[in-house]
Symmetry: C2
Subunit: 252 residues, 2 copies
DNA sequence: AAGTGGTCTAGACCACGCC
DNA sequence: GCGTGGTCTAGACCACTTT
């Protein structure tokens, strides 16, 4: 590709006066993206190609790219390159339509992959949530979910076996919601949701194939049935650039 | 202080085998923090002091510090040093008690500073929200809010003057909520809240005195009265380590 | 004035994706 | 096997805070 020949990506020299150098580079790249001046797969030129003809150190280029990544404009695929981010989906934790349904409704293509499912024993933490003795049997489930083939979240779900005996025998690559409802007659009356900006580290970063330390959003949801029993406890880790959370409620 | 003499902060050499070097440094520092091995103001040794005796480049130390910062464990004061982060406050956007009230309720000390207040003309964006013609008069207000003397958010609020004529004449360093209610008899019936992990840039980063590009949380709240009129439109930018969002609702 | 983080350079080697 | 980003070193100078 001509774009990738050894000339600098932008036509004018980068302004060095006044503001920080890496922020100038950021603005140039952001401008090129906004102008749509990119191959249609959204891949940016490589870091070393961005350097050519500029006299700028690679570290400075990378600083600019990190800035754009933090802003959610671009993301990286490990050792592959930098790409323009697709738009985020809107997530409404107070609605009880699942991931598969609201992603589709927004014209995007959802996909779920079950990483593992097994019976576990309640830890102290879980025993407090489910109000069961430590060591009680619980179902646990780990899934990775995709939008348009990009991994956007990993989650660990815990379900009370008393409410859904034999749950793990079902395919859980679809909507857990609808299985609970149609097969077990369990429906959710109340949600408690906690959200916290976080860094993706260790298992979660690995699961999303991102570098440890990238920003993410941690969503913890506890669902109750009409009798106030905990139906489902869910910990999600999202890519920060994949989601907007929207809550629409009466005032309490 | 003895801690700041030219010996390394940890006693054993850092393990180089296996995992990434900067992650080892991260783990060492995280361990020391968890062990409470710090002066009580929470200030870490300087980057150059952390290097001493280790043979580790300053850039690598900084990478470890950035990691901990992204995780919310530490934060920096520009050109002063790195400090251990205080615990976050819980923010419930569906409750209509204001910042001053819920921060106090959590045993922390809230403070509000009004940066400016003035009448503005409705932009296209605002005209759509308030359902008024472009150019209509609106009240706008910019504030910075603190918890225990650390700036944690900046916000810009827009209010419909028809619902609160003369609002800008009042001191707005306290609760806007209670002024609207007690002085103007305006109360909120419904909230629409959007949240998005973001990078703090430009004016918002400057307002919080953080480096541009640090992770933050963008909260946009639109409040309606019982007749469905927009009472207040609020854009907040939070430090990412200062807040946990909690939503507790019935399912719709 | 001394110390701090903030920025930048100019290399080097590595692990891994992609062809 | 080549190109990519990922990691790391060893300096340097600057702007700002702190003392």
């Amino acid at each position: 590709m001509k774009r990738n020949s050894a000339v600098r990506w932008w036509s004018k020299p980068i302004a060095l006066s006044g503001q920080m150098h890496y922020l100038s580079v950021r603005d140039h790249i952001a401008g090129r993206i906004a102008a749509g001046d990119l191959p249609k797969d959204g891949k940016l030129p490589s870091e070393r190609q961005l350097q050519t003809g500029t006299g700028i150190a690679r570290g400075t280029i990378r600083e600019a790219l990190f800035q754009l990544e933090a802003e959610g404009l671009i993301y990286r695929r490990d050792r592959s390159g930098w790409y323009v981010s697709p738009p985020p989906v809107v997530y409404n934790p107070t609605r009880w339509d699942g991931f598969m349904s609201y992603v589709s409704a927004q014209g995007r293509s959802p996909m779920t992959e079950t990483l593992w499912k097994r019976q576990i024993k309640a830890t102290q933490h879980l025993s407090g949530i489910f109000e069961k003795p430590i060591g009680s049997a619980l179902y646990a489930l780990r899934r990775r979910r995709y939008i348009d083939d990009r991994a956007v979240l990993v989650e660990t779900i815990v379900v009370d076996p008393d409410l859904a005996p034999g749950l793990l025998g079902y395919s859980l690559d679809g909507s857990l919601t609808s299985i609970l409802k149609t097969v077990f007659g369990v429906s959710v009356a109340r949600n408690m949701v906690r959200m916290r900006p976080c860094a993706l580290v260790k298992a979660d970063a690995e699961g999303l194939k991102v570098k440890s330390g990238l920003p993410g959003l941690n969503v913890v949801r506890t669902s109750y049935d009409a009798k106030g029993r905990v139906v489902e406890y869910d910990e999600e880790y999202w890519r920060h650039d994949a989601i907007i959370v929207q809550v629409d409620t009466g005032v309490t």
